[in-house]
Structures are given as C-alpha cells and as structure tokens.
Amino acid sequence: MKKGILIFAHNNRQIDYARMSLVTGSLAKKNLGVPVSLATDPSTVEWMRESNIFDKASEIFDHIIIVNRPQENNNRKFFDGKENFVAPFNNGNRSSVWEITPYEHTLLIDSDYFVLSDNLSKYWQVDADLLIGSGYNDIVGESRTGYLDRYISDTGVKMLWATTVMFKKTQSTKIFFELVQHIKDNYRHFADVYRFNPLMFRNDIAFSVARHIMYGFEQDAEYSLPPIFSVTDKDMLYDVDANKFTFLITPTMNDQYCITTVKDKDVHIMNKQSISRNFDKLMELV
C-alpha cells in the first residue's frame, strides 16, 4: 500500500504557511521515511515562486497539489507571546483530503507540526482505517490544559486533535470525510446538538463529532494517534539547533517565562510568528 504524508498550506497576509510546510515536510520525510505532498492554492504557489522557495518545495514534495483556497470568513486571534493579531484561518478544506491524496495510506499533518522522531511510523501497521490524534498534551502539563482542550464543549464529546490524522483510502473513510464536510456545511446545527461554540470553524471539533457519529455515538477505546504534544502561541520558539528546539514558555500564562527544550519528540508549535523568526535555522535542519 502506497504510504505518504500530506500537508495543507494556504497563506494569508500575516502567516506564511507555505514556508513553514517546507520545514515540516522535510522533517517528516526525513524522520518517517515516506514521501510528502503539499496541498496548496494558486495564490500561495505564486507567492512561493516570488519568494524563491518553489524550487525547494519541488525538491521536498513528491506532489504539489493545487486546490481551491477555502472561501470562508473564519478569522481568529493568534498570539505571538504577549502580542496578538487577527488573521484568517483558512483550514476548511481538510475534508477534501480523501479525494486529493495521492496515497492509499495517508498521514495528514498540520503545517506547524514538527516531526522530530519516528514515533508515528509505528502506526502505519495498526489495524484501523482511521486514526486521529487522541488529545492535547501541553508542554507544561495538566495545569495549563483546560476542559475545552479535552472536550468539544461543557457537555460534549471528547475532543480529538486533527493535527495528525492517518487514514486508509477505504469506503468507510470516504464516508467519514464526507460527514466532516457535512458537519462543516451545517456547523450551527451541529453546534446546537453538541453544544459547542460555533463562532469559529474548527477541524478538531468537526472530526470529533464525525467520529462520534460514525462509531455509533460511542466513545470507545479504539486505536488513535498519540496526543498532540503542543506549545501554545503564548509561548515562543526561541532557538533551534541540531534537532533541539528551545522554547520560552509561560507556565501560568502570564508575563513570567521559563526556558525549556524539546528534542527527538514531535511537537506542535502554535506560535507561527516565532517559527518564521527561526526559519533560517529550521531550514538548516532540512
């Protein structure tokens, strides 16, 4: 079965997801030993050409798949340590992954998910058609993990994290991704039923609800991918060297920062601006 990784990248004026995906794509390829493809849109490709990264992207990615940019008014507040800004959040086309993936067995990862170990490679052989990140694992620990990081709402189902999704191209996964699209199209209705906040579309919620429905409204202990080890956007990527990432993190989400490092461990870095500031160093890892 042909295995591979797929990353979506749709730039906006503030965040260069395409540039980020060069790093995440090449790290994933290096550490998991399978090809990587990029799904992006014409304007992002144009930007990649203008900023002279398209050739590098062609080297790294097995396929560069052109899709339509999701047309939606989905804005969110992004933090960069103590600063913040509002930017579009164009991630509403993940449900199309089943149609566009060039692989029979696909690992879908976010463009800010840095694969620094071979941990995910052991999940290729798991006897399941669909695996989703089973939860959130904060770098500081439980003290910074809120209820809504673990559940989609006060009374809703367990939150799965669509930062990593592994699936085989089967009839049941086709139905699953069609259901994710249906939930997105009827987000307010499902928000009423599952009591989650409908203001901003989140793949994590759509995937959690779809899985809950597909598995007979049961929350069973089926196989899943490991919890997503994450560094919030109030923390900052400070430095990068030979596979060791140094972070400034704020354990109590205030102005006090402490320093920590991550090595040989996959990490989801939510502070996109701090990734951009370290882009040259990150590229040295490639």
Binding site: N119, K122, W124, Q125, A221, P226, F229, V262, D264, K265
Partner: protein
C-alpha cells in the same frame, strides 16, 4: 530580604524548568516504549516482558495471541522474535532514559538543564 527572595524565585524558576524537562523526557521514553506489531500497539513494560518470557518458558512460542494496549487480540507467530525485539527496545530505551535523567539530576543551573 530582597536578595533572598530573588534567590527563591531563581530556584523556583529552575525547578519549573527541571520539572518540564523531566516530563518531556518521560513522555519521549514512553513513546519509544510503544511498539506496533501485526496490527496492534503494545506498551513495552515489565508486565509484557514477564508475560512473554513466561510463555516462552512454558514452551508456547508459536501462534500465540496477546492482548495489546486496547485489549485487542494480536496474533504473534514467532514469540521468540517478538521477545528479542521488545527486550532490545526496552533495554536500549531505559538505558537512554537513565543517562538523560542522570544528566538532568546533575544539572545545577537552567543553562545546564537545557543542555542536558
């Protein structure tokens, strides 16, 4: 008093970094002790090692079914090969854990902690 308070804060900051580094190390080791085999996922721990060794000692070495972390039955054709793999992984990973943990324990400053 001001100086003592600053020292306490510095120590608190050191302990916070230490505690996060320890948590991250432990999780890294846990991930390395997760082993995918024949459609199942196993946690390599003392229970699994003992159970597998006991089955081998009883002469049950082929076509053995063991429950994985989700309590799903997984068929293991050649238990000796499975045992060799999990023992190797267990010893190399716990040795790595020991060495990196020692480095952390010896560190007396934040700079040393993050270099460990």
């Amino acid at each position: 008093m001001q100086e003592e308070f600053k020292k306490a804060l510095d120590f608190s900051n050191f302990r916070q970094t230490y505690s996060i580094q320890r948590k991250n190390l432990k999780e890294k080791i846990d991930a390395k002790l997760t082993y995918g085999f024949n459609g199942g996922i196993f946690k390599i721990d003392r229970g699994l090692l003992n159970f597998v060794q006991m089955l081998i000692d009883q002469g049950r070495t082929e076509g053995v079914v063991i429950l994985d972390i989700n309590e799903n039955p997984v068929l293991i054709d050649k238990l000796n090969e499975f045992k060799d793999e999990i023992f190797d992984r267990y010893f190399s990973t716990t040795l790595e854990y020991f060495e990196e943990n020692q480095e952390l324990k010896k560190s007396r400053s934040i700079e040393k902690l993050i270099d460990a």
